[in-house]
């Protein structure tokens, strides 16, 4: 029940699926097969049990209906005819039927229980697979797909699927079985009446089909208008303060009224047609019932013994007539939700079919100790690392100390092959050096940070890390050796401590505090209501921009990586906080090879090498003094700013 209620929230008009247009699907059959295969694979025995239970339920229901005939023809009528009141046999018959009924109810209950396990289990597995698969996808997937669309797979699509597996499929199964068995029973009772019933069902389907079509057209219109109105509402509510400032209330209301009126009109039409479906089906059902009654009455009265159609048979038949149109209506309703759920399943499988990040690297990063001038692998943290190089040809393993030397050699890169963003980048950072990238927006500065850690693979050229091609290094190990502080800070739901510890999961509390102190975060954390145990929610919404940056720096600090990539935040935080953040960053950079996307003069000035990027190319490279002496692009940037501030 609660699912139904939840459903209204899903979307506009979602509460009333009847008469909604079906989304177009390329290959629904294959999709359904894949989905059912998925369910069957993990729950074969459960599914068999469900089918058996449905069979029992339907059988018990049919014999119950047939009982009306038996009751009238075999018990009441003879008793009326003979006039004696021996109810013994009837009691026996009723008890027999009661047992069947009992079995039916039991089967229905078992079926529902088993379905809960199948349904929830499948959804749980799907969710887990979706999530773990998603985690394995390359960054490109997240950069090219709207996050809202990805989220909607977890929320809307999984929800519709839940509906489908738990309700539509069992109902469809039981409807199909009911239709067939009722049809057979009807044929046994009376062929002509069955034909009449089928004709009436045909009329019913035709009428409801026409109404569905009419409402479908209007539902499309309603969705369109709803989209337009919602878009307008969102825009106006976001800009409500601007509306006030410009005294624009009347205009904004006028446009709103127009859109509101249009939506009301189409929603009214769509709902009228879809709302008519119920009464049409019900009354046509009644008419079918009446016609069968009249014809059946005529046949029963004709006294033709050969036909053998009794009053009791008529009574039973009429019940079947009812029972026949009900499942047919249900099937047509369920088909709609199944198609909708399949559209969701399609998106789910599409995500599952996305190719995960590949990793052909084999060089590993290990803890290292030096013994007699030779580097060896250690089984504990030593604070030093080495690259473990396995040579297949000679079946030998060599170790090489990790130092943090990074070279770019003729690197070309584009997010798509058609459009290159970086051209022929050449640079060399020796261990401990600080390299600053400067240049205007869109020059490709941030892109560089995506390459060293292989969030994206370069099209041409080579990037070497301690003289090893980064393609040969296992991605996980490569990334572990690099610390990144991104421009947009992202924090996770959890305590402050948890968030810092994200950089090193087994860090002790002392290490966490040490890292926070290094990052200049300790003093503000101490002032939080619960200190290090303060819960952060909604991406750290309860912290200021500057505080979040400090936590991100602390998180990088605890990981203690030899190479750092920093994307300085440009957002305007006030000068004092900025100073604190800056100090934290400076301390973090000490002694590490650092690549920094610089926005601050101080960072740029004391860099070992400044790289000036313009439209994806390096136009200048050198120290601050060298570049100033050159009096070219950097000089312009620098002095241009100087003349403004001084």
């Amino acid at each position: 029940m609660a699912e139904e209620a939840k459903e209204i929230k899903v979307g506009p008009g979602g509460g009333n699926r009847r008469g909604m247009p079906r989304p177009k699907l390329e290959n629904p059959g294959a999709l359904l097969k894949r989905l059912m295969g998925y369910v069957f694979k993990y729950y074969p025995a459960h599914m068999v049990a469900v089918v058996v239970c449905i069979l029992v339920t339907v059988a018990s229901n049919i014999q119950g209906t047939l009982f009306t005939k038996v009751l009238i023809d075999s018990y009441i009528q003879p008793m009326l005819d003979s006039g004696d009141g021996n109810f013994g046999p009837l009691l026996g018959a009723i008890l027999r039927v009661a047992i069947f009924y009992g079995l039916g109810v039991l089967a229905a209950y078992i079926q529902s229980r088993v379905m809960v396990y199948i349904n929830q289990g499948t959804l749980r597995r799907l969710r887990e697979e979706l999530f773990t698969h998603m985690e394995s996808l390359p960054i490109k997937y997240f950069d090219t797909n709207a996050h809202g669309d990805i989220m909607s797979i977890y929320t809307n699509d999984i929800d519709t699927l839940r509906q489908m597996i738990s309700q539509s499929i069992p109902q469809l199964l039981s409807s199909a079985i009911t239709i067939v068995s009722v049809l057979v029973s009807m044929f046994i009772l009376s062929v002509p009446l069955t034909v009449v019933t089928i004709v009436m069902v045909g009329v019913m389907l035709f009428c409801s089909g026409a109404a569905t079509k009419a409402s479908g057209k209007n539902f499309v219109e309603q969705q369109k208008n709803l989209g337009a109105l919602n878009g307008y509402i969102e825009e106006m509510m976001t800009g409500q303060k601007v509306v006030k400032v410009f005294n624009h209330e009347a205009e904004s209301i006028a446009k709103f009224n127009e859109l509101n009126e249009a939506l009301c009109n189409s929603a009214f039409k769509a709902n009228t047609f879809s709302g008519s479906l119920g009464p049409i089906n019900a009354q046509l059902g009644n008419t079918s019932y009446v016609i069968c009654a009249m014809i059946g009455g005529a046949i029963a009265l004709s006294d033709n013994i050969a036909v053998g159609f009794t009053v009791g048979a008529l009574a039973s038949f009429l019940t079947f007539n009812r029972n026949f149109s009900m499942p047919i209506n249900q099937v047509s309703m369920q088909l709609n939700s199944i198609v909708m759920a399949l559209a969701g399943a399609n998106r789910i499988f599409k995500l599952l079919d996305e190719k995960p990040e590949t990793d052909e690297g084999y060089v590993m990063l290990v803890d290292a100790v030096e013994e007699n001038g030779e580097i060896k692998e250690a089984d504990h943290h030593t604070g030093r690392w080495a690259w473990k190089h396995y040579h297949k040809a000679t079946d030998t393993t060599t170790y090489q100390p990790m130092e943090g030397d990074v070279t770019f050699n003729g690197v070309d890169f584009g997010y798509t092959d058609e459009k290159m963003v970086l051209h022929d980048i050449v640079l060399h950072a020796t261990p401990g050096q600080k390299i600053a990238f400067v240049g205007s927006t869109g020059a490709g500065k941030t892109t560089i940070t995506n390459l060293i850690n292989r969030f994206y693979d370069i099209q041409d050229g080579k990037i070497r890390y301690d003289n090893i091609n980064i393609n040969k290094i296992k991605k996980a190990d490569l990334r572990r050796s690099l610390g990144i502080v991104l421009q947009d800070t992202h924090l996770f739901t959890g305590t402050v401590k948890d968030n810092i510890r994200y950089g090193k999961l087994d860090a002790t509390d002392e290490e966490v505090i040490a890292a926070a102190k290094l990052a200049n975060a300790h003093s503000f954390i101490k002032r939080l209501p619960e200190g290090y145990d303060t819960m952060l929610t909604g991406d750290g919404a309860n912290l200021s921009q500057g505080q979040r940056q400090l936590l991100a720096i602390a998180r990088a600090a605890i990981a203690d990586p030899p190479v750092l990539i920093l994307d300085e935040a440009t957002s305007s935080i006030d000068t004092r906080t900025e100073k604190i953040v800056q100090d934290g960053m400076d301390r973090l950079m000490k002694g590490r090879t650092t690549f920094v996307i610089a926005h601050r003069l101080s960072t740029v000035k004391n860099s070992d090498c400044i790289i000036v990027l313009e439209q994806g190319r390096i136009v200048e490279q050198g120290t601050h003094d060298e570049l100033i002496a050159k009096k070219q692009r950097y000089y312009q940037l620098y002095t241009g700013m100087k003349s403004e501030t001084a």
Partner: protein, 582 residues
């Protein structure tokens, strides 16, 4: 709540009454049919009276058609009433929101208002439709079928009555337990989805720290938890179906047994027995419906409450009765102003502010985050009302002005500024709807927006996407400034409005202001000293108080905060602004 929402029915009251009437008509038709059916069996078939069968059969078809008409009528009126109510609710909310002051808007938040106007209204629309059609239909069916059954045979009807009561008790028990469970589970479910959201947006962090496995484990644990909770909740609900079926079966068997006795004894006919059996089905099905409706209505209740909140909210800033319709000049005066966003908050945001600004002066305002710079200027155009003291514009208390008059003369470029979907000209004309293109170009030149607009393919006719997505931050800010200039205000307030504009352009804009609109009082809030140092005077804000007010050189001398900021920005820690030189 119901009263507030009900007021919005307005022109849809009649159709709201017609809908249940139609539904009762439909139910009546459905109630008569089984009765007639029994008559056909008894008086037609058993009496071997073919003519009677056809006569009653024909009558039944007529009644079915009547039922059809009533049913479609119900759908028609029901849709009309529910979509109409939705329309009126949306309109009433939207209209009321337009009268909201800033503090009213703050109270609800943007997303809160959007949800109320969209999802919540849709929920109410569906619930109202349900209420009009189903909620009338189900009880009417139960009562109608009950009456018919009692008319046929009171003894057997008692069986249903007992069944209905027993079933109702069980359903209430199950449902009340299930709603608690489901509420819990959906809360947890939302949390799970939030964690997915977190992973999607922070995927770079996850990958950079190689925490994929860690996140997977975390997720699996949460998913397992959700699984257990869902199973527990659903195990409750699924009892309903079999229970319902069992009740129907028990009723059928009891009726068969008792009925058979009565028929043999002659107090019941076969036809009547058949009629009773179908009434029995009717009643129990309707009971099931009622349970569903009950749940849906409780769900809609939350939406209704949220909508009522908006409708019942009264704007806390309104025009005085005899408001002043003209602003004499652009002077501004703060007299002992205290201000707090919330009446209950202990610490005011602004404390005892006394400022005197002459008409035509250019004033810079500087101070750290949270020093209440924006709060200060927001009081001038009466976006908020002061808690204590007086703010005067042109020598008159701002509360004495007609709000539209005041805001036309005090033009604010808000810190969080927005453009609307439409052409650039459309957006500019927010400032002055009768502005000619030449007016617009002049304003854009002053705001240094002309240069990039000219370079756009469609120039001033370029379409701005919702929220100004297709222009850069700096371009958006310049357009917003131009829009504010078009008002030709006596006071112009820029609240950190050039933060994304490069320093050279920023200077150009300020120069244009000095030359083109010398008579306008200008207030400029900025982070960069460079943006304010040439102002006539500069206000230094610190923690809600004026820490200094004077010229650049005066402040350098006397104000430590100002000096600190100045040194940090021109010394080694300065903002290089390299990326803004685009």
């Amino acid at each position: 709540m119901i009263k507030t929402l009900g007021k919005e029915l307005k022109e849809y009251k009649l159709v709201s009454v017609l809908t249940p009437l139609c539904m009762i008509g439909e139910v009546a038709a459905e109630m008569i049919i089984p009765k007639l059916m029994g008559k056909i069996v008894d008086n037609g078939i058993y009496a071997e009276n073919m003519a009677y069968i056809f006569r009653v059969g024909f009558l039944m078809i007529v009644i079915a058609l009547f039922g059809l008409a009533a049913g479609i009528g119900g759908a028609y009126y029901g849709s009309k009433a529910s979509t109409g109510l939705a329309k009126n609710l949306r309109k009433a909310m939207f209209d009321n929101i337009q009268t909201f002051s800033f503090s009213n808007i703050d109270k609800f938040s943007t997303s809160g208002l959007v949800t109320r106007l969209t999802t919540d209204v849709t929920n109410i629309q569906n619930a109202y439709m349900m209420l009009l059609r189903m909620a009338m239909r189900a009880p009417a069916t139960v009562i109608g079928a009950m009456i018919m059954s009692f008319m046929i045979n009171p003894r057997i009807a008692t069986i249903y009555l007992a069944a209905v009561v027993v079933l109702a008790i069980f359903m209430v028990l199950i449902m009340s337990k299930a709603t608690v469970y489901f509420k819990e589970v959906f809360e947890k479910y939302d949390e799970l989805n939030e964690s997915v959201q977190e992973n999607v947006s922070a995927i770079r962090v996850v990958k950079a720290y190689v925490r994929e496995d860690y996140e997977n484990d975390k997720f699996k644990k949460a998913a397992g938890n959700i699984y257990n909770m869902f199973v527990r909740a659903e195990m409750n609900v699924i009892k309903m179906g079999p229970m319902m079926t069992a009740t129907v079966y028990v009723c059928i068997l009891l009726i068969s047994w008792v009925g058979a006795h009565m028929i043999v004894a002659g107090s019941l006919t076969t036809g009547e027995l058949m009629g009773l059996l179908s009434y029995c089905m009717n009643i129990l099905m309707s009971m099931m419906f009622l349970a569903i409706i009950f749940v849906m209505l409780t769900m809609a209740q939350a939406s209704g409450k949220r909508i009522a909140e908006v409708l019942e909210e009264t704007p806390d800033i309104t025009n005085k009765a005899d408001a002043i319709m003209a602003v004499p000049d652009g002077s501004i005066r703060f007299e002992h102003v205290n201000f707090a966003y919330n009446e209950t908050s202990e610490e005011p945001v602004l404390k005892d502010i006394n400022i005197d600004i002459k008409s035509g002066e250019t004033i810079g305002i500087i101070g750290g985050t949270g020093s209440a710079k924006s709060s200060l200027v927001n009081l001038i155009s009466r976006l908020y009302d002061v808690t204590d003291g007086v703010v005067k514009v042109g020598g008159i208390d701002v509360r004495d002005y007609d709000m539209e008059t005041l805001r036309d003369q005090v033009s604010v470029v808000l810190q969080k500024n927005v453009l609307f979907s439409g052409t650039i000209l459309d957006n500019l004309r927010w400032g002055d709807k009768d502005a000619t293109k030449e007016d617009c170009i002049r304003a854009c030149k002053m705001a240094c927006a002309d240069e990039f607009i000219e370079r756009m393919p469609d120039g001033y006719e370029t379409f701005i996407e919702q929220g100004g997505a297709n222009v850069s931050g700096g371009q958006r800010q310049r357009l917003c400034i131009a829009r504010a200039l078009l008002k030709k205000p006596k006071i112009l307030i820029l609240d950190d409005s050039t933060s994304a504009v490069d320093t050279a352009t920023d200077a150009k804009i300020r120069k244009a202001f000095a030359e083109e609109i010398p008579g306008t009082t200008k207030l400029i809030i900025a982070q960069r000293i460079a943006s304010v140092q040439e102002c006539d005077r500069i206000i230094v804000m610190d923690d809600g108080q004026v820490s200094g007010f004077g010229t650049h050189s005066e402040l350098l001398e006397s104000n430590t905060i100002y000096r600190e900021v100045y040194e940090s920005q021109t010394g080694a820690g300065a903002d290089a602004d390299f990326d803004k030189q685009a």
